[in-house]
Symmetry: C6
Subunit: 194 residues, 6 copies
């Protein structure tokens, strides 16, 4: 299934945690740069808030790459962002970190670890804001076989509601900024693992 | 009728399987590159999800042609995608593989086998996701005289609900990626069959 | 009246057959290329399906002119398509052949016979699909003084519901492709008749 | 008042006849070419049908000027079409001849007679189609002091419902094509009258 | 308050008279040319009719500057038109003269007298049409300390409903064309007063 | 939380005061210039009035930078304005001063004091207009640890409704123009504090 654990590190795909009416689930956000002039395409029946979230991620990614060789990638490509499954409406700001990480991965060609999942709203200056549905999201991560979960620092207090058996199986990384997210999620030594 | 079996391999036309309120039917998705600048036109009363599906197919086709001589085709053409019949509203993500295959055929000039039909949602990195209405779609393929049906690997389990008389007459190809779809659907030796 | 028989072959005007709530009638679809960059303008209160139909006709016309001297006409003109009368809403796919023929006439400068009328949905690869309201449309053609009616091959079976007195006065041309339509409708020897 | 008779021939202003819920009235359609690239602006709370009517008039004006020195005017100007009064919604196709004549006047710099009024739908090939509300429109023309009224040939039969005292005071010009309209409405000898 | 009398002549700001559900009030229409390519921006929650009014004012301003050195200003700037207060919806055509005068002031760099207020619909050829709510508008002008009010000639007859104490304190200038408005409102000797 | 006091002066982030159904709160408006051509992007579920407010701030910022070296920044960048939190709808004109100050900071690279908050509608010529909810906004500023609050001069009279304990802890700066706002909010000696 689309919600299964990814099998290996991949470029331009990042695993997020979603909270829906029927519980939590993992989702794989896909980013594909295609030759173009910086146009921005989203598919996957994204709602207004999530589309804005993707827009913030794109602007922030440009800022993070400012002054580096990757700047060119933004000027000579359109960015297509897709969130499977295509017929399921999605919304909310909590995929911010996932969208950003997928874009950074696609632009730099660095794979994202397949056993890491994340959730968190982002702001334009790179702060990570708290999200809802933590318990449901962590249960979904646990079920899918995720090893490490990246969470907003400000959600730390919500961990107490999460059952110990789940907390014992997952490694938590609490972050305040997107730089911490990227540091944790991207494969470091591309030559060996990528 | 538009839903009749095609008579010979053609370029830019791919046979899909649709599931409607009144059962399954086959449909011929048409792709026509016309001199332009990469604009994207869809007709055939496509709903939002199906339009996004076409957008995913177009981006993915560009990626698959990356580094090949066909890249130029995308830059110097608009892509018109039509799904007859024109007055019938259509929607859903399951035409993803059909849309992609039709585009690849049109871009490369390789004919698509006329007795092959297919169904499956696609993602931006080329995975094929499961679809609904398998039984109805296979009955339609059978009635139309289709020989080979390409299906998502994850729909294999649904085959048990399909009557043996239908299963005996059709060859099934289960796929996980769009590359497998294209491999199966395009005519190999164009000089002889095209 | 606008629904009267045209008096002589004209360039860029094609007579179609429409089926409305109050019966059938003939309509004159007008196409005017005006200096521009390939923009596409429709007027006449066309509904979504009919606008898509015009879009299909335009793409198909470009394909049919591919490799001929007329290709330039599409690049250096906008195409205005109007269907009088301006205040009457119109919709449906059955004007496809009429739209295409009017465009081909305007682009090539070849007049269309004034005593020929037609109806048929078109697809992007030039197939002609069946239409509804055949009896009403033929009665309108008969009343208007039309001599020849071009119809989809797949509507042949519907002729039996049409009164003999009408069938006796009209010549029928059944077609499967748009090339047959154009062959029949355009004035052959422009020098003599145009 | 805006609905008063104009005092002298002017360039880019043409007097039309409108039929509203409260009777007929005359209106002055204004066309102003402003340096630009052929954009098309309409103001005056025009409805969809009337906007399309203006679009038809613009395309037809371009065709009529084809091959003449005025062609350049269309390429180097935007065309602003305004119908006072600004807060009153207007719609319908019957201002077609008025819109066309105002554009032709603005483009060629030829004044339009101030005591001529007109009404009639236009088609893209320049035919003039019948309109409604003839009696009310003629009474408005009579009250405003109009001398000559240009009408569609096909409205001739409706004249019998118009009171003799009005018919006796107005000169009628019945037309089938827009060329007849322009011939009648534009001031001939610009040097003397313009 | 925003509705207070302006303290001195300013460039690009013109005082209008509005008529709302709670009586009349003065408003300061602001125009700011910013480096650009002739785009047209309106803010202040303007309704459709008022946006069209601004469009008419812009076209007319271009015409009035035709052949003068100011033509360049229109080509190298975007025009932002704002009507404070930002949260209050506004509509209607009667700000036409105010919008035009503010644009002309901004383009030519000529200040507008601060104790002059105005109201009047404009047409594309520069005629000034009558407005409603004259009494309420004049009372607002009087309360705000306005000295001179520019009004449409055709509103002269409505003055009789205005109390004498107000009429005695205000100077009235009745106009038929926008040129009379501009003549009255702009500061003549810029060197001394600007 | 996003509504916490910022910890140090930052570039492109300005603290505003908002008034919602559940009381006042502080918000951090973020502005990020990204390489582009002057496009204008807003995110944060802004309503129509607030989007217009951002548009006014952008135009005014361009005017204020006119003739200075910063003009180039507007031509070579797109401006992304975000107001966290992303899922909370926001509207109203009172963030005008905050939007403008954030843009000026981003364009000039001058940090904004972190213990200053502000509220006030702006007009296109730089006037600061009164806002509502003063008491609730000041209580939020007080709770968040803000030291200085910039307010419209015309709100001075509303201070009497504010409890003394709050007034004693905050420094008030009353302004009539945006220049006063910028003077107060930007860090003066960038080298030392930035
Ligand atoms: Ca969410
Ligand atoms: Ca941390
Ligand atoms: Ca489907
Ligand atoms: Ca397989
Ligand atoms: Ca139809
Ligand atoms: Ca045939
Ligand atoms: Ca009408
Ligand atoms: Ca005649
Ligand atoms: Ca008004
Ligand atoms: Ca006067
Ligand atoms: Ca507010
Ligand atoms: Ca002050």
């Amino acid at each position: 299934k689309e919600s299964d654990l990814r099998k290996r590190p991949e470029i331009g795909v990042c695993t997020g945690l979603a909270w829906t009416a029927v519980g939590g689930e993992i989702m794989h956000i896909e980013v594909l740069p295609i030759p173009g002039k910086g146009k921005f395409i989203t598919t996957g029946q994204l709602g207004d808030v999530m589309k804005e979230s993707a827009q913030i991620a794109l602007s922030l990614a440009k800022k993070l790459c400012d002054g580096k060789k990757y700047v060119k990638v933004f000027e000579t490509n359109d960015f297509h962002i897709h969130v499977p499954e295509g017929a399921v409406p999605k919304d909310g700001p909590s995929a911010g970190v996932t969208l950003l990480t997928a874009i950074i991965s696609a632009v730099t060609g660095t794979p994202i670890k397949h056993d890491v999942a994340m959730t968190g709203e982002i702001t334009l200056r790179g702060r990570v804001l708290p999200i809802g549905g933590l318990k449901e999201k962590l249960m979904a991560a646990y079920r899918a076989g995720i090893k490490t979960v990246i969470l907003p620092e400000t959600n730390k207090r919500d961990l107490e509601k999460v059952p110990d058996e789940i907390k014992d199986k997952l490694k938590f990384v609490f972050v305040e900024t997107v730089k911490e997210v990227i540091e944790e999620a991207l494969v470091k030594d591309v030559d060996k693992k990528g």
